[in-house]
C-alpha cells in the first residue's frame, strides 16, 4: 500500500536515514510523501531532524540510507542546482553585492533566459510580493520584512514546482510574522506550488499548513492536518508540543464501551478516551486541553467523574481568563474560560469542581 501511495506522490522520502558521525542517527527511518500543491510543515524542537530533512531534499546533504524521490524520480545523485527547487533561507541569503532586481534575475540568468524575458519575470515576481518599487535597492537598504518578501520572490521567480522554506519568519517581529504567514500561504495557494516549510513555531505550523509533520528524535511523531493534530494528538509528545496542555499521570483501570477509566496517582478516577493504551494496568499520561475543562457542573454529564480543584491564580487576559489550579496533587493545571458576561471570575483560594467530556480527555503513552 505504501508503494501505490508513493507513486502519485510529488515528493517522497522512502526509509531515509541520516547520520553525520556514523554513530548516531539524526533522521531515523523517515517515510513521508506529499502530493502536488500541498503545503506541508515540518515542525519540531531544534535537533529533531527537520532541517536535515529539508537539506537532504534541497541536495545540500546526502541521505545515508534510503531514497528521496521528486515527481517519481530518485534525486539522491542529482546536484542541488539541477533539482530546480526554490528555497527560502532562514537569514534570507540575499546576495548583498547585488540589487534586488539583480538578485531576482540571478536564477534566470543562470538559466540563460533572454533579457526582456528576464525583466518581465522579475517585474512580475516583485509585483507579486508588492515590492515593485524596490528593484534598484540593495538588500541592506531593506527592512527585515521586505528582505523576506524579496527572498520569497527570488525563490519563486524561476517558477519551481517545489519550494522549501527554512524558518523564513524567525527573524521578524510578531505582527509582521503573522502578516507574512498569511501572505506566504496566499501566494503558495495562488501559484499552486508544493511547499515544504520548516519551523519550530507551532502557531505558524497550525495556521499555514495543509498538513503538519511533527518531528522529534529523528522520527515523525504524527503527520496530520492542523485540527486533527491539535484535537487528536497521537502521543504525549505531540500533545505537549502543540498548544497548551494539561497532563495527569495514572494507571488504566478498565476499558469499557470505548472509554477507559483511569485511576490517577493521587487516587481519583476519571473517564478518558483511550488513544494508545489497550489494557488495564498500563501506565498512562492523560492529556486535556485547558479550554475543554468545564467548571459549570450543570453542563456536564450527570455520571461524569469530577475532580476537586483549588484556585491558585487568576489571570485576566482580555479575551479569555486563564486560571491555574491545584488538581490531583499538581499545581500546573491550567484552564481557560471565555470572557463572556455570565462567566465566573474565580478567586484564589476558592474550591471548585471541574470535569470534562470523556472524548476530550485522551489517555496517551506514559
Amino acid at each position: 500500500m505504501a508503494q501505490t501511495h508513493s507513486n502519485d506522490a510529488f515528493v517522497a522520502f522512502e526509509r531515509v536515514q541520516k547520520s553525520y558521525d556514523g554513530e548516531t542517527l539524526v533522521v531515523k527511518d523517515l517515510n513521508l510523501s506529499l502530493p502536488k500543491g500541498e503545503f506541508l510543515t515540518m515542525l519540531g524542537p531544534s535537533g529533531s531532524g527537520k532541517t536535515t530533512c529539508l537539506m537532504m531534499l534541497a541536495g545540500f546533504e546526502t541521505a545515508t540510507y534510503g531514497e528521496i524521490k521528486l515527481d517519481g524520480k530518485p534525486i539522491n545523485n542529482i546536484p542541488p542546482h539541477k533539482r530546480g527547487i526554490g528555497m527560502v533561507f532562514q537569514n534570507y541569503a540575499l546576495f548583498p553585492h547585488m540589487t534586488v532586481a539583480e538578485n531576482l534575475a540571478f536564477p534566470l540568468e543562470v538559466r540563460k533566459l533572454g533579457k526582456s524575458e528576464r525583466e518581465a519575470k522579475v517585474k512580475r515576481a516583485l509585483d507579486m510580493v508588492q515590492m515593485g518599487a524596490f528593484g534598484g535597492r540593495r538588500p541592506a537598504q531593506l527592512s527585515g520584512g521586505q528582505q523576506q518578501r524579496i527572498a520569497l520572490a527570488r525563490a519563486l521567480v524561476f517558477e519551481p514546482e517545489l519550494v522549501l522554506m527554512d524558518e523564513p519568519l524567525g527573524a521578524l517581529d510578531k505582527q509582521l510574522r503573522e502578516h507574512m504567514q498569511f501572505e506566504i500561504t496566499r501566494i503558495a495557494h495562488d501559484l499552486g506550488i508544493t511547499t515544504v516549510y520548516v519551523t519550530h513555531d507551532q502557531t505558524e505550523a497550525l495556521t499555514m499548513s495543509d498538513r503538519v509533520a511533527v518531528f522529534n528524535d529523528g522520527r515523525i511523531q504524527q503527520l496530520a492536518p492542523p485540527d486533527e493534530l491539535y484535537e487528536a494528538p497521537q502521543n504525549s509528545f505531540v500533545a505537549q508540543f502543540i498548544g497548551e496542555n494539561n497532563t495527569l499521570d495514572g494507571t488504566v483501570q478498565e476499558i469499557r464501551d470505548g472509554y477507559a477509566i483511569v485511576k490517577l496517582d493521587s487516587g481519583e478516577t476519571i473517564d478518558c478516551k483511550p488513544v494508545n493504551v489497550s489494557k488495564p494496568g498500563e501506565r498512562t499520561l492523560v492529556s486535556i486541553r485547558p479550554e475543554r475543562v468545564e467548571i459549570d457542573k450543570s453542563r456536564l454529564h450527570p455520571d461524569a467523574h469530577t475532580l476537586q480543584a483549588e484556585v491558585l491564580e487568576f489571570v485576566y487576559m482580555g479575551d479569555i481568563f486563564r486560571t491555574r489550579l491545584r488538581v490531583a496533587g499538581r499545581e500546573d493545571f491550567v484552564i481557560k474560560t471565555r470572557n463572556a458576561p455570565d462567566q465566573r471570575r474565580l478567586k484564589p483560594g476558592e474550591m471548585i469542581e471541574i470535569g470534562w467530556l470523556a472524548d476530550d480527555c485522551r489517555a496517551l503513552d506514559a
Binding site: A58, H81, G84, M87, F89, N91, A93, P107, V110, L164
Partner: protein, 424 residues
C-alpha cells in the same frame, strides 16, 4: 512649548546656548581621551613623522657635511652669479680669486674634502681635485696673487674644466634639485638638464623592477593564499586553528632564518637541485640569486599578510549564500564567481595592498637571494647612504618611492574604494 519654536540657538536650562554647554560637558572626556592616546601620538611623531620629514628635507638640502654649500663658498657663489657656462668661457678672474679665499677657510675648517665629495655626486673627478688641491691652495697668500686663475691652474689644471665650474654654479643654492635629477636618471650638463644614456638609467630600471616584482609577488600570494584562506574559513574551528598555526608559523621565526633556509633549498648545490638531478635531469636549475629566487622567497614570507585579511573577510560570509546560489540553479563555478568571489574583494583589496606595500620596501630578502638582477630599489638606497654616504640621493629615492606608493594608494582608492578594504 512656545519657546522651542522661537528663532535663535537652542538654550540649555540655565540660559547658555545648548552647543556651548554640550561642549563644556564633553571637554573633560576629550581631554581624558587625548591623555590616553598621548604616548602613542608622541611615539608616532618622534619615530615616524619626524624621520620622514627629515628625509624629505635631506633630499632637497644642498649640504656638504653639516653645512650648506653657499655658506662654505659665499664669495664664489656671489661671483658666479653673473657667469653663464653656455658661453663656453671660464668664469672671471674674480671668481677664481673668490675660490681661493673660500677654499682656504674651508681647508681651515676641514670641509674641503666634504665639499669635493658633494660635487663629486654630480660630476665625478671633483672629489680628488678638491682633496689634492687642499694643502697647496691653503699655502697661498691671497694678498700677493695677481693672477688667481693662473695660480689655481698651476695647482691643478682641472681647475680649468668648464664642467666643474658649471657644477659649482648649479649647486650654489641652499636647496638643490640635483638629487631628484639623479634619482630620475637625469644629469646636468653645460647644455642643460638631460637624461642619461639609456644603459645608465639604473634608478628607473630598479624602480620599475621593484614595482613589477612586487606586483608579481602580490599576485602569487593571492593565488596561493586564496584557497588556503577559504579552507580556513570553511573548516570546523578545531581543524582551522591547527591550520592557522601553520600559516602563522613563519611569523614566529626570524626573517633572516627563513631567507637563509630558502638559500639552502634553492642554491645550485641545494636540496631542490639535488632532487632535480636525482630525478634524472642533467642541468642544474638556477633558482637563486636572480628574480625567481626573490619571488619564491618573498611570496613565502609575505603569504600570511594575504591570508589573514582574506580569512577575516571570508569568515563573515555565511555558507548559505553559496547554497542559495546553487538552489537557484547556479553551478559550483558560477556560484563561486558570481556570489562568493565578489564578496571577498574587500579581503583581496586589503591583502593585496598590504603585501604590495610591504614588498615595495623589502630589503633583506632581495639583498640575500636577489643576486645582481633581483635587487630592489631599497637595496640601492641602502648602498647610497651606507657605502657612498650620499644621504641626499638616498632620501630623494626614498621620497620618490613614498610618492609612488601614495599615488598607487590613491588610484586604488579611486578604483576599489578604500572603504571596501577590510583588514580584520
Amino acid at each position: 512649548m512656545a519657546d522651542t519654536t522661537t528663532d535663535g540657538p537652542m538654550l540649555a536650562a540655565d540660559g547658555t546656548p545648548l552647543k556651548q554647554s554640550l561642549a563644556r560637558a564633553l571637554r573633560r572626556q576629550k581631554i581624558r581621551a587625548l591623555m590616553l592616546t598621548a604616548p602613542l601620538l608622541i611615539f608616532v611623531l618622534v619615530s615616524f613623522i619626524m624621520p620622514i620629514g627629515s628625509m624629505l628635507m635631506r633630499s632637497i638640502q644642498n649640504t656638504a657635511g653639516t653645512e650648506y654649500v653657499p655658506d662654505i663658498l659665499p664669495n664664489v657663489v656671489a661671483e658666479l652669479e653673473e657667469w653663464d657656462p653656455t658661453t663656453g668661457e671660464l668664469p672671471s678672474e674674480a671668481a677664481f680669486k673668490a675660490m681661493i679665499i673660500d677654499f682656504q677657510v674651508a681647508f681651515e675648517n676641514k670641509q674641503h674634502t666634504q665639499l669635493g665629495r658633494r660635487f663629486n655626486y654630480e660630476t665625478p673627478g671633483m672629489s680628488s681635485l678638491f682633496r689634492k688641491s687642499g694643502r697647496k691652495v691653503s699655502r697661498m697668500d691671497v694678498a700677493e696673487i695677481t693672477d688667481a686663475k693662473a695660480a689655481l691652474l698651476d695647482v691643478d689644471e682641472d681647475w680649468g674644466n668648464l664642467q666643474y665650474w658649471a657644477t659649482i654654479k648649479a649647486n650654489s643654492g641652499y636647496y638643490t634639485s640635483s638629487y631628484y635629477m639623479a634619482a630620475f636618471d637625469a644629469e646636468r650638463t653645460i647644455e642643460g638638464v638631460q637624461m642619461k644614456d639609456p644603459d645608465q638609467r639604473i634608478y628607473q630600471k630598479l624602480m620599475l623592477r621593484t614595482l613589477w616584482l612586487s606586483g608579481l609577488i602580490t599576485f602569487c600570494t593571492l593565488a596561493i593564499g586564496y584557497p588556503v584562506a577559504w579552507l580556513l574559513a570553511d573548516l570546523p574551528l578545531r581543524t582551522s586553528n591547527l591550520l592557522m598555526i601553520l600559516v602563522l608559523l613563519p611569523f614566529w621565526t626570524s626573517l633572516l632564518v627563513r631567507t637563509s633556509a630558502w638559500k639552502i633549498l634553492l642554491q645550485e648545490q641545494g636540496v631542490i637541485n639535488d632532487i632535480w638531478i636525482a630525478l634524472g635531469f642533467s642541468d642544474r636549475l638556477s633558482l637563486i640569486n636572480n628574480q625567481l629566487g626573490v619571488v619564491i622567497a618573498m611570496t613565502h614570507i609575505l603569504l600570511p599578510f594575504m591570508i589573514l585579511p582574506l580569512y577575516s573577510v571570508m569568515k563573515t560570509i555565511p555558507p548559505s549564500y553559496l547554497r542559495a546560489a546553487k538552489s537557484l540553479g547556479a553551478t559550483n563555478t558560477t556560484a563561486f564567481l558570481r556570489v562568493y568571489f565578489p564578496q571577498t574583494t574587500p579581503g583581496i583589496g586589503a591583502g593585496a595592498l598590504l603585501v604590495f606595500i610591504l614588498a615595495v620596501g623589502y630589503f633583506i630578502t632581495p639583498e640575500l637571494v636577489g643576486g645582481a638582477d633581483g635587487t630592489f630599489i631599497s637595496n640601492r638606497i641602502y648602498f647610497q647612504f651606507s657605502t657612498l654616504g650620499n644621504w641626499g640621493l638616498a632620501a630623494a629615492l626614498g621620497t620618490i618611492m613614498l610618492a609612488v606608493v601614495l599615488l598607487l594608494y590613491y588610484v586604488y582608492d579611486k578604483l576599489v574604494g578604500i572603504d571596501n578594504v577590510k583588514l580584520g
